[in-house]
Amino acid sequence: MKHYSETLYDSYGQSFLVDKLYFENKTEHQHLVIFENAMFGRVMALDGVIQTTQADEFIYHEMLTHVPLFSHGAAKRVLIIGGGDGGILREVCKHKSVEHVIQVEIDAKVVEMCKKYLPTHSAGAYDDPRATVVIADGSAFVRESKESFDVIISDSTDPIGPAEVLFTGDFYSHCKKRLNPGGILVTQNGVAFMQRDEVVNTFKRLSAVFDYNTFYSAAVPTYIGGIMTFAWASDNSNAHKIPITILEERYKSAGISTQYYNPAIHQASFVLPQYLLNSIGER
């Protein structure tokens, strides 16, 4: 393989020169490719869609983790759905307040190959005594589990393939049952400009389940087409409006060093462009 072309869209797409191919094969669930690229370092793709790269993964993982955890302020129990590369687990484990984190990933091969070829993503987090990894279908886990969590993070692929069930009203309502009072659900929700339907569908489905839901955003270079949206849902309708002084205090006392996240960007990330607000019929 000399180059890798993402096949997310028919008439537009990104292409990478492949300096070295580490892995290319169909796992039990999806087609997994890991390769080296001069600009982005190690790149991982599933079913033709870029999932993460060494160079820009920090933006995604910090924002999908620290925004809900610092908003919550006292999260002890965290559930990660998906996240097979280990990046979310790494960021969650940086929070000393967290006592137990369960990661439910459907594809054992993704975890295995990412430990091997993307070791800086998990950075040893799989060995953290607070971490439990379950290889299972995330939607079945939230349906059947009796455990409860302060924050649930859905770090999934797009809703074609194994992750389809992670974008359903059923999944969201089971997540809600697993959340403690004041708990927060955040989910990867695609690039809004390119995948407008995902934003609209998720907004509708979450609205039917939670007292309050919205999106926040960050631009991740290899999720092409502009800002990536993260869906946010909670029965605490103020959880996303924590005053900056409190966020700064929490950030400082956590002692976590970040490259993208800071309290100001945390607050600003909930400010959405008008096209997105128009799509979801807000304001």
Binding site: M1, S5, T7, L8, Y9, D10, S11, E24, K26, Q30, H31, D47, G48, I160, G161, E164, M194, Q195, R196, D197
Partner: protein
């Protein structure tokens, strides 16, 4: 072309050696012929992207040679995608051409990386609403070809007059229609229907593009490029360049950056394989010799039934006499007769019967009936990688 050709015994040495080495029945795959066919068609259709219809002969060696030469692939099922995946084929070079699909057929194709799909009615169009940001659609138009032995416009394709309506519907659903496709009929005896369809599609496309909105930018002219079988259609066609000349002229009227795709299957695969079968029994009935081969209509010769093909047969014998004969396949079914009322030199048990032009729609549609083993495919003239 004659049904049976008798050649000097000495010239059949290669087949006798291959039969001795590999046993029979065999299908000998000549890798050089794959390259030759691809180059012939590329030269006859310059600027046309050739997407090999792998249903005609889904052998990995054929697929790999064509991929190395720059071919794309015309795919109809998830099974065919899995075959390409195992060969590490870049998915951008594939198009899904089955007009009728289940939801999972669409999602599996997308997960493989194919984003081009074909539809011919509004119910099929509606199936793409959930995938509308990811796909580009071709509308298949029907141009019936009464002269083709395999008319592919009966089962699929919309009427030319329905195209506008389908595109309007697609626009209202937010689905991108990027072009048109047609199939002028397999093993076409002449290029007239191709030319007619190209011209009709160009008129639809030009009219549409004048009206504004998203432009149609692709025409998929299907397949139908003929090869020589032992029947009248085969006799009509010897020169693919002459066959394609009027097609080239018709395509020349499109603007330079307009994409033209073709879906050749038979033309690329049929001449690449030769069947080598052995006479396993002989009888004298009804005043003629019956020869029972170890391959037949339920095996490599299945295309005689499904594909309406009559394969040229070659016998290597120096015997001067000719006698009336019938060649039959090995199964217990009386329909399993390959050729009757033919003139053959006297043959013996263990002699070889050679079937020519047997790469397309042969092993692809063979069955395991009676549990007779299928012909083994043996590649020859393979370039060392």
């Amino acid at each position: 072309m004659e049904r049976v050709t008798v050649k000097p015994y000495g010239e059949g040495k290669l087949y006798r050696e291959l039969a001795a080495t590999h046993g029979t029945p065999l299908l000998i795959l000549d890798c050089e012929a794959v390259t030759c066919q691809y180059r012939l068609l590329s030269q006859s259709l310059p600027g046309v992207e050739l997407c090999y219809a792998i249903k005609s002969q889904p052998h990995p060696v054929v697929i790999n040679i064509l991929y190395q030469l720059g071919a794309g692939f015309d795919i109809a099922t998830s099974g065919e995608f899995e075959l390409l995946r195992r060969q590490h084929i870049e998915p951008r070079s594939t198009i899904h051409t089955h007009p009728i699909k289940r939801d999972r057929d669409i999602s599996e194709a997308l997960r493989f990386g194919c984003t081009t799909f074909v539809i011919d009615n509004s119910l099929e169009l509606e199936k793409f609403v959930n995938y509308r940001h990811r796909v580009g659609i071709l509308v298949r138009v029907s141009f019936p070809n009464p002269n083709s032995p395999v008319d592919l416009s009966r089962k699929f394709g919309c009427l030319p007059g329905d195209v506008d309506h389908l595109i309007r519907k697609a626009v209202s659903l937010g689905i991108h229609v990027k072009g048109l496709s047609f199939h002028a009929g397999s093993q076409s005896p002449g290029p007239e229907n191709h030319v007619y369809a190209i011209t009709a599609c160009r008129e639809i496309i030009e009219r549409h593009n004048r009206e504004g909105g998203k432009l149609l930018s692709i025409l998929d002219i299907g397949g139908g490029f003929p090869v020589s079988y032992a029947d009248s259609t085969g006799d009509l066609v010897r020169d693919i360049d002459a066959f394609c000349a009027p097609i080239r002229d018709a395509l020349g009227k499109f603007p330079g950056n307009f994409r033209i795709i073709a879906e050749p299957g038979r033309f690329l695969s049929a001449p690449t394989m030769t069947a080598v079968s052995k006479i396993m029994g002989k009888a004298y009935r009804g005043g003629e010799s019956w020869y029972y081969l170890d391959d037949g209509l339920y095996g490599s010769y299945s295309g005689q039934l499904y594909d309406h093909a009559t394969y040229p047969i070659t016998i290597y014998s120096d015997h001067p006499e000719r006698e009336r004969a019938t060649i039959a396949g090995p199964t217990c079914d009386s329909i399993d007769v390959i050729a009757e009322n033919i003139e053959l030199p006297p043959l013996s048990i263990g002699d070889l019967i050679i079937g020519e032009q047997m790469g397309a729609y042969t092993s692809a549609s063979a069955t395991d009936f009676n549990l007779f083993e299928r012909a083994k495919i043996v590649p020859i003239n393979q370039k060392k990688q």
